[in-house]
C-alpha cells in the first residue's frame, strides 16, 4: 500500500472515529421535566409533619423520579441506598439534587447531593445531629436546618450554610427559635418558617434574612391564628405555601401572598375545598403541582392546581400505598440574585439603631398620658438583663451589642414601670449595623427622613461594662 493510500485510509479511519464519538451519546438516566417527589408509605401519619421535632424525620421515605409525559415509564428511585430520604431540591442549573437522608434506621439525618447526570451521591454534612430542609443558594452553597441542643434548654432547628462539600459551615440564626423549611426568594434572601421556643413557645411565622444571617425580619404572619406549615415557593411575584388552621392538626389550605407586600396580601386559594394540601411546586404562570388529598383517609397524590380558577385539576401522579409529597421538577430555574455579605468575623460586636421606640402598634393600657413617655429601654439576653439604655427625646436609642447573641427589649417609663415588651428575639452579626423604625410598629412603614438624636448622642455598649468596638466605616 503506497503512502497516499495509507494517508487516505488513516483519514477515513479518523473520520469514522470522529463521527462515532459525535453520535455516541449515553442516554441520560433522567429526562428534563421529570417530576421528583418524596414518597412516604401511606401508613405514616403526615399530619404532624413539620409541626415539631418528631414529625420531621419520617421513616422509610424515598425520593423518586416520575416521568409526567410518559406515564408508562417506570418510576426511578433516586435514594435506594437510604433508609429514608426527603425534601429534594434541584439546583438552579437543573443538574443536581440536594436532599435530606438517613443512611440507616439508627443514623442521623444528613444533607446529600445527587448528581443527576452521573447519579453519584456525595454527603454534604457530617453532623452528630440531624440536618434537614436543604436548599440551594444562588452562589452554589447549601442552607439547611440543624437540630441543635441549645443553652436555652431545648432542641431547636438552627439555620446553617455550607459549601457543597460541607466545608465553610456557618451558623445563620441565633435566636431560640426553630427555623425550618427554608427557601430562597428571587431577591436573594432566605425565608424560613420560624417558631419561638424559649422562654415560651410562639407560633410559626415566616421570617426573612440575608445569606450572611443579617437583617433578620418578619416576612409573613397570619392574622387569623393560622400557621404556615410548608416550604414556600415563589412564582410570578407570588409566594405560595400551605397554611394550617389552629389548633394543631387543623385543616390545611393552599394560600398565597404577594412577594411585594406579604403582610397585607394574604389570599386563600382553596377556601371552599374540603380536601387537604401538604406541599407544592410552581409549574408555570397559572399552575402549581400540589400534594393533595380529597379526604383525610386517603394518601396524598400530586395534582395540577389552577391558580386563576383556584381549582385542583387532574391527578398527575398518585399511589394508594404512598403519600406523594414535596414535588419538584427536574429543570433549570431562574437564579436569584447573589447577595454580598458584610459580616466581619474579626469583629465581636454589631450595632442596633432604633429610630423611635415610641412608634408601636401595641397599645399600652392602664397608664395616664404623662406616664406613657418612654424613658429607658431594658435589653435582655437569654438569661439576664444586659443593661438599660436611655431613650432620646425623639424616641431613638443606639446600642452596640455582642454579635450572634439573641436579645430582646422592654420599654420603661421614668418611674421604671414597664410599658411594652419583652419584644421578639433579634440578633446582630459581627460588624452588622442594623436599624429598626420602632418597636412592634407597622411593618410596612418606611422610616421618616430624619437624623435620629441617638446617632450623635453616643452609642451604649452592652452588656454593661463592655468596651465599645470601633466600627469599620462602610463607605463605598
Amino acid at each position: 500500500m503506497n503512502t497516499k493510500k495509507k494517508i487516505l485510509a488513516s483519514m477515513i479511519f479518523i473520520l469514522i472515529l470522529v463521527t462515532g464519538v459525535f453520535w455516541f451519546n449515553p442516554e441520560e438516566p433522567l429526562n428534563q421535566d421529570m417530576l421528583i417527589v418524596t414518597a412516604v408509605p401511606s401508613d405514616i401519619d403526615l399530619l404532624h409533619d413539620d409541626l415539631g421535632i418528631d414529625g420531621r424525620y419520617v421513616p422509610r421515605a424515598q425520593i423518586i423520579a416520575h416521568d409526567i409525559h410518559d406515564q408508562e415509564n417506570d418510576d426511578l428511585i433516586l435514594t435506594e441506598e437510604f433508609y429514608s430520604a426527603r425534601s429534594p431540591e434541584v439546583s438552579y442549573d437543573g443538574k443536581k439534587m440536594v436532599f435530606a437522608g438517613q443512611k440507616d434506621k439508627e443514623a442521623t439525618w444528613q444533607i446529600f447531593i445527587k448528581d443527576l447526570e452521573s447519579l453519584q451521591v456525595t454527603q454534604v454534612t457530617q453532623s452528630p445531629v440531624n440536618c434537614t430542609d436543604p436548599a440551594w443558594l444562588p452562589d452554589g452553597r447549601i442552607i439547611f436546618s440543624r437540630l441543635n441542643k441549645e443553652e436555652s434548654g431545648g432542641q431547636i432547628h438552627v439555620l446553617y450554610v455550607c459549601n457543597p462539600d460541607g466545608s465553610n459551615k456557618k451558623r445563620l440564626t441565633f435566636h431560640p427559635n426553630s427555623d425550618i423549611s427554608s427557601s430562597v426568594t428571587n431577591d436573594g434572601r432566605i425565608i424560613s418558617l420560624s417558631e419561638q421556643k424559649y422562654p415560651n413557645p410562639g407560633i410559626k411565622q415566616i421570617f426573612a434574612l440575608r445569606t450572611d444571617g443579617t437583617k433578620f425580619e418578619l416576612f409573613y404572619k397570619s392574622i387569623q391564628q393560622k400557621i404556615p406549615v410548608s416550604r414556600c415557593w415563589e412564582a410570578d411575584g407570588q409566594i405560595y405555601f400551605i397554611e394550617q388552621e389552629m389548633p394543631l392538626v387543623g385543616r390545611r389550605e393552599l394560600v398565597t401572598v404577594a412577594f411585594g407586600h406579604p403582610l397585607s396580601s394574604w389570599k386563600s386559594l382553596s377556601a371552599d375545598d374540603p380536601g387537604e394540601y401538604h406541599s407544592l411546586y410552581p409549574l408555570n404562570m397559572d399552575q402549581l403541582i400540589v400534594a393533595y388529598r380529597p379526604e383525610r383517609t386517603k394518601s396524598f397524590g400530586l395534582y395540577v392546581f389552577n391558580t386563576k380558577d383556584k381549582k385542583t385539576e387532574n391527578l398527575i401522579f398518585g399511589k394508594d400505598d404512598f403519600h406523594l409529597i414535596e414535588p419538584v421538577i427536574l429543570t433549570s430555574r431562574t437564579m436569584p440574585l447573589k447577595l454580598p455579605e458584610i459580616v466581619d468575623e474579626a469583629k465581636v460586636k454589631g450595632t442596633l439603631l432604633c429610630h423611635d421606640a415610641e412608634l408601636s402598634m401595641m397599645p399600652v393600657e392602664g397608664f395616664d398620658e404623662k406616664k406613657l413617655k418612654i424613658h429607658k429601654v431594658q435589653v435582655f439576653g437569654l438569661d439576664r438583663m444586659l443593661g438599660e439604655v436611655p431613650v432620646e427625646e425623639d424616641g431613638s436609642f443606639y446600642i452596640q451589642i455582642d454579635a450572634d447573641t439573641p436579645v430582646r427589649f422592654q420599654t420603661v417609663n421614668a418611674d421604671g414601670e414597664i410599658l411594652r415588651g419583652p419584644s421578639a428575639w433579634i440578633w446582630v452579626r459581627p460588624n452588622e449595623r442594623r436599624s429598626c423604625i420602632g418597636c412592634h410598629e407597622d411593618r410596612e412603614l418606611a422610616p421618616e427622613n430624619k437624623v435620629p438624636d441617638a446617632l450623635y448622642n453616643g452609642m451604649v455598649s452592652l452588656p454593661e461594662g463592655t468596651k465599645t468596638e470601633a466600627i469599620v466605616l462602610s463607605d463605598k
Binding site: 440574585l337 455579605e341 411593618r443 463607605d475
Partner: protein, 675 residues
C-alpha cells in the same frame, strides 16, 4: 546543521521572540489594567478601555450610533398623529398612528424635551433643553417656522387654552418663561423654584402648576422640601408655593379633567437616615404627590412601592380623559403602574392631613390604589394618552420604540418602531444599566435616581450609616480624566467606585458583571456631558466681570502685595480644562462629622449647576464656600478681598463651562503661539 535543524531554527526563533513579546506585553497589560481599575477583579482588555472609555477616541465615535431615544410625546388633537421628541438624534418625530409608521423627522435644537400643541393641531412647540430655545413647528409643512429664545434649560411647556401664552419651565435657571404667541417672543420671566420640571394647566386655564426636581436650599442636614408652584395666568404671577415635604424629583404633573386634583411623580429620599440597610425603604422610596386644588385643599404623598418590591424612578404621569385612572411610568424598572383615582380620592377623604403625612411613608398603601403593573421596554419615559382614552403611548427610550397600551385589555398591543439603529453598542448597554435599578436590592433605585440625567440630586447622604463622612452627591458629567473618584479620593477608577464594595454597602445586591461594568463605565465617560453654560460668551470670550474674576482666580499676590504660595492659588488645584489637579487637599473643610480633613479636588465644569458645595454639601451657595467655610485662607486666599472682588471671582466660576470648551481654548492658544 541539517535541513530540519535549520527549519526549526528558522521557525522557532521568531515564534519564541513573538511569544516572549506577547507574554511580557500581557504581563504589563495586566499590571496596567490593575492599576487603572484600582485592582478591581475583572477581565479587562485593551479594547474595553482604549476603544470605549476615552471620550475623544475616534474608535469610540466610530462605534457610536445615532439612536433616537424617544423622550416625551403628545398625541395630536385629532388623535391621528403622535409627536415625539428624540433627545439623542435632536429631532421632532411625527408618527402616523394609523399605519404606526414614522412620517417624518424634523431636526430641532439640542435635546428636544417636551411638546405642546395648539388646539387646532397645526402648530407644535418643542422645548430644546440644551439650546435655551423653543422650536415652533408647522405640522402641515413639517417645518420649523420660528425659534424663540427662552431661559436656561427649557424643559416641560404648556400652552394656555386660547393659544395666547406659552409657559416654559427653564430648569437650570429656576424660572418660567412666558411667551406671547402672537408676538413670538418672551413676555416675561418669573422665578419659580429650584429646577422646575413638570408643568400643567388647570382645565379652566386659570392656573399653571409647576413641579420641581430639586429641593429648596433648606440648609445642612435638613429633610428636602420641594416646591409646587401655582402661577395665576391672568396676572402671570406666582400666587402659591406649596411645600412638598421630604420629597424631591417631582418630574411631571397632570390634572384630573375636573381639575380637582393635581397628581405628580416624586421621590422620597432617605438621605438623613443612616444607610445601614435597604430593606423597608431605608434608602429611597418612590411615589406620587396629590394636591386638592381648592383653597385649603389637602396635600398627600402616596408611595407606589411595596415593602419588598420597589418601582424606581417614577417619571411621567397622565390622567385618563374620563378621570378614572392615571398611568405612571417607572423609568428605573421598566414598568407602568395603573392607578385608580377614585381609590386615591377615598384615601384623601378618609384621612386628615396628619394621617396623610404619616401614611406618606407607608409601603403598603400602593395595594389600595395601584390596580395593575405593566412591564414595558427599557427605560419608559414620556407617556401620552389618546383623546378617546383608549390608548396610552409609552416612550421606551433605550428601545427606540413607542409601545401602545390598550386601556381596555390593559395589555401592550403593539410597538411603534422609531427607526433607530438595530445594534446595541456597549455604550447603549451602559445607558440601559445606568438608568435601571436591577442592580440594587429589590430595585429600590438606579444610578440615575441620585444622578438624574447624570448630574446630581443636590442631597447629602450618610452612606457610612454612622453619621460620619457624609457625602454630597457629585455630578457624573465629564467624569473621564478626573480620577480619582469619591470625595476622599479612594477610588482610582469608576470600576472600583461601582465594583464590589459599592454593591456591598450601597446597592446591597449582586454586583455588576465585568461586561456590565465595562458598558456602564463606557456610557458614563462618553455620554454624560455637561450642558452648554449660558454664562460663557460665544467663542469663550469673557465679560469684564469674568475677566476680573479670572485674574483673581489666577492671581499670585494678595491685594496688599503679599505673595500667595503656589499651593494656595485657585489655579494650582483647579487648572483647566477640568479645573482639578486630580489630587487631594486640606482646604479646612473637615468638620466634626469627618474622620479625614483631606478631600479630593472636585472639577469645576458647570459648577454653577451643582449646588450645594463642599464634600458634605454644607455650603448652599458658592459665596458660602468662602464667607462661612473659608476659614483663615485655607481654601485659597480670600480674606484680603472686598465683597466686589468675591462677586467677580464667583461670576468667573459661574462662567466655567464644559471641559471641551477649554480644550478648544488650549488648542487655539497653542495655534496662536505656533503662528
Amino acid at each position: 546543521m541539517n535541513k530540519l535543524g535549520r527549519r526549526i531554527l528558522f521557525l522557532g526563533i521568531p515564534l519564541i521572540t513573538v511569544g516572549i513579546i506577547f507574554y511580557s506585553g500581557h504581563q504589563w497589560g495586566v499590571r496596567h489594567a490593575k492599576y487603572i481599575t484600582g485592582g478591581t477583579p475583572h477581565p479587562s482588555n485593551c479594547i474595553s478601555c482604549h476603544f470605549y472609555l476615552d471620550q475623544d477616541a475616534q474608535v469610540a465615535q466610530m462605534l457610536d450610533r445615532a439612536y433616537v431615544s424617544p423622550f416625551k410625546m403628545l398625541v395630536s388633537p385629532d388623535g391621528k398623529s403622535l409627536f415625539v421628541t428624540a433627545h439623542e438624534s435632536n429631532e421632532f418625530v411625527i408618527v402616523d398612528l394609523e399605519s404606526g409608521k414614522v412620517k417624518t423627522k424634523i431636526p430641532v435644537g439640542k435635546w428636544p424635551h417636551s411638546i405642546s400643541v395648539s388646539r387646532d393641531g397645526k402648530t407644535a412647540y418643542v422645548s430644546n433643553h440644551w439650546s435655551q430655545s423653543v422650536s415652533v413647528i408647522d405640522i402641515d409643512s413639517e417645518k420649523v417656522i420660528d425659534t424663540i429664545e427662552v431661559g436656561n434649560g427649557p424643559s416641560d411647556l404648556i400652552l394656555d387654552e386660547n393659544n395666547e401664552f406659552l409657559y416654559v419651565n427653564n430648569s437650570f435657571a429656576g424660572n418660567l418663561s412666558i411667551i406671547n404667541i402672537n408676538e413670538g417672543k418672551e413676555f416675561r420671566r418669573i422665578p419659580t423654584g429650584n429646577y422646575p420640571m413638570g408643568i400643567a394647566i388647570s382645565p379652566d386655564g386659570g392656573k399653571v402648576f409647576v413641579t420641581h426636581r430639586r429641593a429648596k436650599p433648606e440648609g445642612f442636614r435638613k429633610s428636602p422640601i420641594t416646591e409646587l408652584v401655582v402661577v395665576d395666568t391672568r396676572y402671570k404671577r406666582v400666587t402659591e408655593r406649596k411645600e412638598i415635604h421630604s420629597a424631591h424629583i417631582m418630574e411631571n404633573i397632570d390634572l384630573t379633567p375636573s381639575g380637582d386634583l393635581a397628581l405628580f411623580t416624586l421621590i422620597r429620599p432617605k438621605n438623613l437616615v443612616p444607610s445601614t440597610q435597604i430593606e423597608r425603604g431605608f434608602m429611597i422610596t418612590e411615589g406620587i404627590g396629590i394636591i386638592e386644588t381648592h383653597a385649603g385643599g389637602k396635600v398627600a404623598q402616596l408611595l407606589l412601592d411595596e415593602p419588598n418590591r420597589y418601582f424606581a424612578d417614577p417619571y411621567d404621569i397622565v390622567v385618563a380623559p374620563d378621570g378614572e385612572k392615571a398611568y405612571v411610568s417607572h423609568a428605573g424598572v421598566d414598568y407602568v403602574s395603573v392607578l385608580d383615582i377614585n381609590e386615591i380620592r377615598k384615601i384623601l377623604a378618609e384621612n386628615n392631613q396628619d394621617e396623610l403625612n404619616r401614611i406618606a411613608n407607608h409601603l403598603g398603601m400602593s395595594s389600595k390604589f395601584v390596580i395593575k403593573r405593566i412591564q414595558t421596554g427599557p427605560n419608559p419615559k414620556g407617556l401620552t394618552i389618546s383623546p378617546d382614552g383608549q390608548y396610552v403611548y409609552i416612550a421606551e427610550r433605550f428601545a427606540d420604540e413607542v409601545s401602545v397600551l390598550d386601556t381596555r385589555s390593559m395589555k401592550i398591543e403593539r410597538h411603534i418602531d422609531l427607526e433607530g439603529p438595530r445594534t446595541i453598542t456597549q455604550v447603549r448597554q451602559g445607558g440601559r444599566l445606568f438608568y435601571n435599578a436591577g442592580r440594587t436590592f429589590q430595585n429600590q433605585y438606579s444610578c440615575s435616581t441620585c444622578h438624574p440625567d447624570g448630574a446630581e440630586d443636590g442631597l447629602t447622604y450618610d452612606l457610612t450609616g454612622t453619621g460620619r463622612n457624609l457625602e454630597n452627591t457629585i455630578t457624573l458629567r465629564e467624569l473621564s480624566n478626573t480620577s480619582p473618584f469619591k470625595w476622599n479620593g479612594k477610588n482610582v477608577s469608576v470600576y472600583m467606585q461601582c465594583g464590589m464594595r459599592f454593591s456591598r454597602f450601597v446597592t446591597r445586591t449582586e454586583s455588576f458583571t465585568p461586561d456590565e461594568l465595562n458598558a456602564l463605565v463606557a456610557f458614563i465617560f462618553q455620554k454624560l456631558e455637561n450642558p452648554p453654560n449660558p454664562f460663557q460668551l460665544p467663542n469663550y470670550e469673557l465679560t469684564e466681570v469674568q475677566k476680573r474674576g479670572k485674574a483673581i482666580f489666577e492671581r499670585t499676590k494678595t491685594n496688599d502685595g503679599r505673595e500667595i504660595p503656589e499651593k494656595d492659588r485657585c489655579i494650582t488645584c483647579h487648572p483647566p480644562p477640568y479645573f482639578t489637579d486630580r489630587s487631594s487637599a486640606n482646604v479646612g473643610s473637615g468638620f466634626e462629622t469627618d474622620t479625614e480633613e483631606i478631600f479630593d479636588t472636585p472639577k469645576l465644569n458647570n459648577i454653577v449647576d451643582t449646588a450645594p458645595y463642599l464634600h458634605d454639601g454644607r455650603a448652599k451657595t458658592l459665596e458660602e464656600i468662602w464667607t462661612i467655610y473659608g476659614g483663615e485662607d485655607f481654601h485659597g486666599y480670600v480674606n484680603d478681598m472686598m465683597k466686589m472682588e468675591l462677586n467677580d471671582l464667583i461670576e468667573y466660576l459661574r462662567s466655567i463651562g464644559p471641559a471641551h470648551t477649554y480644550k478648544f481654548e488650549e488648542s487655539s492658544i497653542k495655534e496662536a503661539s505656533n503662528e
